[in-house]
Symmetry: D2
Subunit: 435 residues, 4 copies
C-alpha cells in the first residue's frame, strides 16, 4: 500500500441501512460473525479478491486491502431504518435465511441494532404496512428528520464517517421528469412544496445522506439517484453515489453468460427469464406498478452486451422478456429459469436453459459490504458523483444519459473497470482499455 | 491492414480434413453455401468478430481480415480422408445435421469431394469399421502414404498452401511415454519399427502434415501433438500446431461460466457434468478406453480457472465429475446437463443447473474454419510450434508441460490472447496482460 | 363387435373445423397421410388404444373399432372456416409444424380444402385480423349463415353425418350470465337482439351445429358450451357436446403427475407453471383478456385431484400459479416449465421440475381425430348432452355445475371413464367405480 | 372394521431394522416424534390414505385402520443391527437429514436404540468398514446368531410380533444360481458349508427372520428373497416376504410418469435417467459390482408398462439407460434428472425433462412404516409368501419368475392391487381387474 494517496481509514465507519429485512440482517449478521471468526464472508471482493498490479516481471497479485486503505470490519457500526420496529435479531430470525447456529453467537449485538422510524409513503409500496414510521409534514420535513437521524447516529456511536445504503423495497416507478428532477434547485423546490408524485421517499434518504457528507447507494431498482439533480448534489457535496439494484441472481448470470455468446459470435434469437420468489420483495413486485420499476432495470442488460448495431446478423432481432412471479413456497430462495435461444453455423437453432436455485440475501449480503467499503474508499480518494467502477455490483449501472454515456453491463468489463479503479487509487497504472 | 508484416494469402488454400463425418461435412457445406451467398457462417470469429486495435482516441474496431491477411473463403479447396468411401454429399445427408434445402444447392461440389483411404487401426477405435482403409506395412509406411496423398492433392488442385485438421474420432488414450515420445528421433524410430502401441494413426497424420509443410490441428482429445517429439518437428519444419479437442458444447459453457463464479469470489463445492449424445462420436466414447481420453481432456478445465492455491476457502475442495453417455435418440443433438454447487456468504449453498441442447456439428463447424484460416495465417506470419493464441477454440489447450507452462482455460483470457495475437500480427500493440 | 347396439357408421363423415391454423392443418394432413399409409397416427386412442373388455378368464384386450362401430378414416371429409382465405395446403406450409416430406404427398387434397368465410368479431380476439369474414347483421344472422354453410357442405360432399369442432383462437372471457345464458329462450333472444357482449361468435357456431344435428366440440378454453342454454339445446336436438380446451402439453402432464403425488400421500405446497410459446395462439393469449379465459381453464385441474377437504394436512394450502408467455423464437414448439413443491415425512420439502419441450399441434391433432370420431359414435349411440367420457381429452372438462357435479381431472380416472363408455357402447359391462 | 377376519393387532410390535443409517433413523425419529404429536407422518399410506370400500350408494372412503386391524404407532418398539456402534441418536445427527428441532425432543428414546453387531462380509460391500460386526464361523453360524438376536429382542421388549426390514446397503450382485438357490435344502446346505459366494449376509437375515416367524422385507436391490429357496421357507413358516428396493425418487416418478405416456398412446423413443447422490448409499453404488445390482433393479420398470409386444409402433424400440453417480456435495439430497424422448402424431419428437430434487430418506421413511405395518397385517391375515400387494412400495417388485409371472410396475395398477388387498382383508369385495 506504499503508493496510494487515499486518506487512511481512521476511526469508526457507520453503515446505515435503509430497510432491516432479509438482505440487511444477513449482511449485518455475517459481518458480526466474521469479526468473531465464526464464519467466512464468501463472495465479498474486498475480503477475498486478489488482482494484478504492475506488469510483466513486476506484476503481483494482491488483496484490495494491500493496495488501498479499506475500512476494517472491526471498525464498522450498524444503523438502520425500517417500517417495522423489530430489532435486528428479531428481524434476522423472522427472515428465515440463516440457521440458528449462525445467528445466536451474535444475538446481543444484533438486539442492540434497533430500527429508526422509517421515512415512508404507502403509495410507493402498497403491499407493505408497518407503523414504525415518521410523521412528516412535507418531503422537506422528511429530509430534515433523516438528516437529524444521521447526525445523532454519528455522534452516539462516535463514527468518523457514515455510508447510507438502501436495502429496502422497490418503490413504484418514478420516471425522470425534467421539470422536477433536472436541477438541484428544482428538486429542492419540489420537496419544499411537498410534491409527493415526483419525490419518492428514497430521494429524501439520498438527499439527506449527501447533505450530511455520506456516500449513498441505491440497492433497489428505484430511480432515486438516476436524476441529474442528485448528480449535482453529489458533485456539490463531493460525495460518491452508486446504483442501482444489487446484481444478485438472474442478472448476475445474464451479465456473465451473454458475454460467452457474444465472445463466440453466436447468434441470439431470444432470452426468456422468469423468476419465482416468495419473500417480501416478491410480494411487493407482484404489484404491477412496482414490477415495472424492476422490469426496466432488468431489461437493459442484454442490449449493451449483444449490440444490434455492431452485429446485425447476430443480434438484430433479439426477443427479450423478463417475468417475476410471487410464489410463497420458496420464501427467500429466489429461483431463476432462463431460456436462451441461440443460433450457430448456417443459422441452426440451439437452446440453453439455466436454472438458478439461489438465495437472494446470501448473494446480496457481500454486495452491501463491498459497496459500503468501496464507496467509503472513493470518498476518501476524492472521487465523487457517479461511481462507474461500482457497476460490477449493480443490475442497472448508473451512467450519465444526458451525455449519451453508455452503461457497461458485461460482467467482465465491469470487473476490469473495478480493478482499474483499485489500481489507480492504489497508485498503480490502470489497463488502458477494458475490452 | 497497412501495418502488417505477414505474407499475403495468395493462391488457393487446401483444407484437408481427417474424417468426413458430421463435423467435417457441416463445415464444408457451410463454407460452400456461404460462398454462394446462401447462408451465413454464424459463430466464426474470422468472419464476424471485430476487435479493438489501437488505444484511447486512436482505437477502432475492425474485422480480422481488415487487420491481417486472411485467406478468402473463395480460395478454399477441400480434401478429406475417411474409413467410409461415401462422398461428402452422401456423408452430409447421412449425418442428418442439415436440412435438404441447406445441402442441395451445393450438391455437385460436395459430390466431387471423395475421401482418400484412411490411415486406420481398429485397435484405436473398436466400434468403428469401414473398409476405405490403407494397407500399411508399418507406421512409417503409413506416414509415407499420407505424405504422398498431400503432395498429390496439392498438385491436383493447384494449392499454394495446405492445412491438415483432424475431425475424426477419439482414439484410445495414449499417455505420454518418455522413451518414445520425447524426441523426434525416438518418434521416428518407433514409426520405423512399427510400434503400434505408442504410435497412434493420428500421429502419422500429424507427422506427414508437418513434414509436408502444413499446419496440423487436432480437433479430438487425442494426445497426438501433445508430445515433445511433435513440438520438435514443428520447430524444425517451422509449422504451427494446435490442439486439442474442439471446444463445443459443455466445455465451452464451463470455460465461460466458471469465470463468473470466480470473478464474484463465490465458492465452488462441486460441478457435475453429464452429456447425452447419439452420433458416431458418442458410440466411440461409449467404449471406456476412448472415453478416458475425453475425460482427461474435459476435467482439466476447472482447476486452472478456480484455483485451490489462490483461494483455498473458495476452491480448496471442488468435486468435479464428467460423464458422457451414448444415447441414440438424440443423434447429433448433443445435450449437456451441468449441476454446479456453489456457496456464498457464510457458506450457504446454492445450485445452478445448465441444460444445453446443442448441436455438436453446428458448434464445431466454425471452429474448423477459424482454426484452418488462423493456422494458415500463423504459418505465413512465421509463427511455429504450439499456437497458444488458438486456445480459445480448444477444450484442452496445448502448453509446454515440460516447462510447467500452465494452460489458459478461462474463455475470456483465451479471447484476450487471441485478440493480442491478431493485433500483433496486424502490426498493432497487444495488451500487455490478459487478466 | 357382436354385442353393440350402436348404429353402424355408414357413409361419409364430414368434420368441419373452426379455424384452419396449425392445429387443424396438422390434424388434416396427418389423417390424409395415414390414409395413404405414409405416416402413423401416433397418440390417437381410436387408432391405437386397446382396452380390456370382459373379466377374469373372459377378458380380452381389443381396439376400440373392434368393440364399437367407429367411422373409418377413409370415410372422412374435411371442411373448415377461417378468417384467412388460404387453402389448407398453404396454411399447413405457413404453420411450419410439418416437414415438406410429410405434406407434399397430399398437397392436392389439402389444396382442395378452402376455408369458408369465418363468423368473426374482432372484439373477441383483438390481435387477429383477416378478411375472410362473413358480413352479419346480427348474431342471429351469423347463426343462419353458419347453418347454411353446414347444409351446403353436407350436400356438396354427400356426407351422412357432420361433426363441428372448434380449433380456433381463445376468445375473451365470457362469464356465465344467468340472464342470457340460462335457458335456450334467453340465448335465442340475445342472438336476435344482437347482444354482442353476451353472445360470442363461438356460440353461434355451437348453436348452428346443434341445430343442424351435428355434435359440437370446443377445443379452446371458451365458455361457449359451458352454459345451461346450450345443454338445453343439445338435449333438444339429441346431440353430444364436449369441451373445453384440448388437453395438450402442460395440463396433460399436470393431470397425470398430480395423481402420483396424491397416490403416495405426499404433501403439495405449491405448483408454478409457466409456458412459452410463439404461435398465433400465443399472440392471442398475450392479451390479458384472452389469457384470463385460459387461466380459469388451467387453474381448475389441481384442486379436484389433490383435495383440501379430504387431506387438509397434505393439500390444505396449495399455492397454484399459471403463466403463459408469448415468445416468438419458439413458434409452435410450446415449452412448459413446472415447479412442483412437495413435502414428505415430517414436512420436509422437496422439488420436482418438469420441462416439457412439446409441439402444440402434434399433441392436439390426435385429439381432434378422437373427439370427432367419438362424438360421432356417441350420437349414433343415442348419447346426448354433456359427454363426460370425453373429459380425458380436455383441459377443463364440462360438468353440470348447476347440480354441483364435480369435474374429473385425474387423467387415470378420466381414462377409466373413457374405457367404461366404450365398454358400455360395445355391450360389455363397465367397471362400477373409477377409483 | 366390522367385516374383517384378520387377527387383531394385540401387544407390542417389534420392528428390527437392518442398518441404522439415514433411512432407518429418519424412520424411527419420525415415528417417535409423531407419537408425541410433534410432527406428521406425511407420505405414509397407513396413516393418511383413504380408499373406497363398497360400491354405488354403499361406497365410502375409509382410512386403512378403519378397514383392517393395523398395529398402532404407540405399540412399536425399534431394534437395529449396524456395522457402526453409534446409537440411533448419534446416527441420526450424523446423517444430517433432520434438523435439530426435529430430533432433540426424542433424543432419549433414540439413544436407547443401540445397534446389535451386524452380520457382515466386506466382500459384499467393499467401501464400507465398521467394526460392530459378528464373528461367524460359517454362514450357518451367522444365521444362528441372528436368530438368537431376534429371540432376545422379543423377550427383552415383550414383543408379541416382530418384523425384520432391510434398510442397509446394496450388496454386490448375486445372480440366481439354480444349484444353490432353488430349494430350501440347497440353501441350507450352502449355509452349512459356508459357501460365501452364493450366500450373501442379507440371506442370513432373511432366513433367520422367517425361521423366527417374522415377516422379512428387502429394502435394497439385493436379490436376497428373490430366490425359490426363500419362497419355500416363507411358505413353510407361513410368513410374508416382500421386496425389493424401496421405491423412492426416480423410479417412483418413472412408474408414475410412464403410465401418462402409455395412457395417451404416445410413442417412446428413449428414457435416460441419471442420479447424483452423496450419501453412504451413493458411495457404495459407485462400486461397479454394487451398481450392477441396482441397475438391474431400476431397468425393469419401463418394459412392463410400455410393452413392445402390445404396441410395436409406439414401444418397439425404446433406448433405456440408467446411471447413478456418487457426488458428495449433495449428501442425502438425491437428485434425479430424467430425459424422456417421446414422439407423437406422424412421429414428431418431443422431450420431457424431469428434475427431482428429492431427499432419499424422507421418501423412504414412510415406506418402512407402511411395509412393516402391512406385512405384520398380512401375517395376521394368514397371507404368506410373496406379497404382490406391496409392489406399490418397491422398485422391482417380487414375482414368481419360475411361473413366468409378470411384475406390475405401473404405479396406479400397483395402487389398485394395494387397495384390493386392504379391501379383501377388511371383508369387502375387491375390484375384479386392475386396468
Amino acid at each position: 500500500m506504499e503508493n496510494t494517496n487515499v486518506k487512511p481509514a481512521k476511526g469508526k465507519l457507520g453503515i446505515m441501512v435503509v430497510g432491516c429485512g432479509a438482505v440487511a440482517t444477513t449482511f449485518m449478521t455475517g459481518v458480526l460473525m466474521t469479526r468473531k471468526g465464526l464464519t467466512k464472508p464468501i463472495g465479498s471482493m474486498t475480503q477475498y479478491d486478489k488482482i494484478r498490479v504492475g506488469r510483466g516481471s513486476d506484476k503481483k497479485y494482491l488483496h484490495y486491502k494491500d493496495i488501498v486503505p479499506l475500512a476494517d470490519l472491526k471498525d464498522i457500526v450498524f444503523g438502520t431504518w425500517d417500517v417495522y420496529p423489530q430489532n435486528a435479531y428479531q428481524a434476522t430470525v423472522y427472515a428465515e435465511v440463516l440457521k440458528a447456529k449462525d445467528i445466536e453467537p451474535v444475538r446481543e449485538e444484533l438486539e442492540s441494532i434497533k430500527p429508526l422510524k422509517a421515512a415512508f409513503d404507502k403509495n410507493y409500496a402498497k403491499r407493505l404496512d408497518g407503523d414504525n414510521v415518521k410523521q412528516c409534514k412535507t418531503r422537506w420535513d422528511m429530509v430534515e428528520q433523516l438528516r437529524e437521524d444521521i447526525r445523532q447516529f454519528k455522534e452516539t456511536h462516535g463514527c468518523e464517517r457514515v455510508v447510507v445504503i438502501w436495502a429496502a423495497s422497490t418503490e413504484i416507478y418514478v420516471p425522470y421528469d425534467e421539470r422536477h428532477h433536472k436541477t438541484l434547485a428544482m428538486l429542492e423546490a419540489a420537496m419544499q412544496v411537498d410534491d409527493r408524485e415526483h419525490i419518492a421517499p428514497s430521494m429524501c434518504y439520498a438527499y439527506a445522506a449527501l447533505k450530511e457528507g455520506c456516500p449513498f447507494i441505491m440497492g433497489a431498482p428505484n430511480t432515486t439517484v438516476d436524476i441529474p439533480a442528485m448528480w449535482e448534489l453529489a458533485e456539490k457535496t463531493r460525495m460518491p453515489i452508486a446504483g442501482k439494484d444489487f446484481k444478485t441472481g438472474q442478472t448476475l448470470v445474464k451479465s456473465g453468460f451473454a458475454p460467452i455468446i457474444k465472445t463466440r459470435n453466436l447468434g441470439l434469437a431470444g432470452w426468456f427469464s422468469t423468476n419465482i420468489l416468495g419473500n417480501r420483495d416478491g410480494l411487493v413486485l407482484d404489484e404491477p406498478a412496482n414490477f415495472h420499476t424492476k422490469e426496466v432495470s432488468k431489461l437493459s442488460t442484454l442490449e449493451t452486451i449483444c449490440k444490434a448495431d455492431d452485429q446485425p446478423d447476430l443480434y438484430g432481432d433479439i426477443y427479450h422478456k423478463v417475468r417475476i412471479n410471487y410464489y410463497p413456497p420458496r420464501n427467500d430462495n429466489k429461483e431463476g429459469w432462463d431460456n436462451i435461444d441461440i443460433f450457430g453455423w448456417m443459422g441452426y437453432p440451439m437452446q440453453i436453459k439455466i436454472n438458478f436455485l439461489c438465495r437472494d440475501s446470501i448473494l446480496a449480503a457481500p454486495l452491501l459490504l463491498d459497496l459500503s467499503l468501496l464507496s467509503d474508499l472513493a470518498a476518501r480518494a476524492g472521487r465523487y458523483g457517479i461511481q462507474r467502477f461500482l457497476s460490477f455490483f449493480l443490475k442497472s449501472p448508473m451512467h450519465d444519459y444526458t451525455r449519451e454515456e453508455e452503461p457497461v453491463n458485461n460482467l467482465f468489463e465491469q470487473y476490469t473497470m473495478l480493478k482499474n479503479a483499485i489500481r489507480e487509487m492504489g497508485g498503480y497504472e490502470a489497463d488502458e482499455e477494458i475490452d
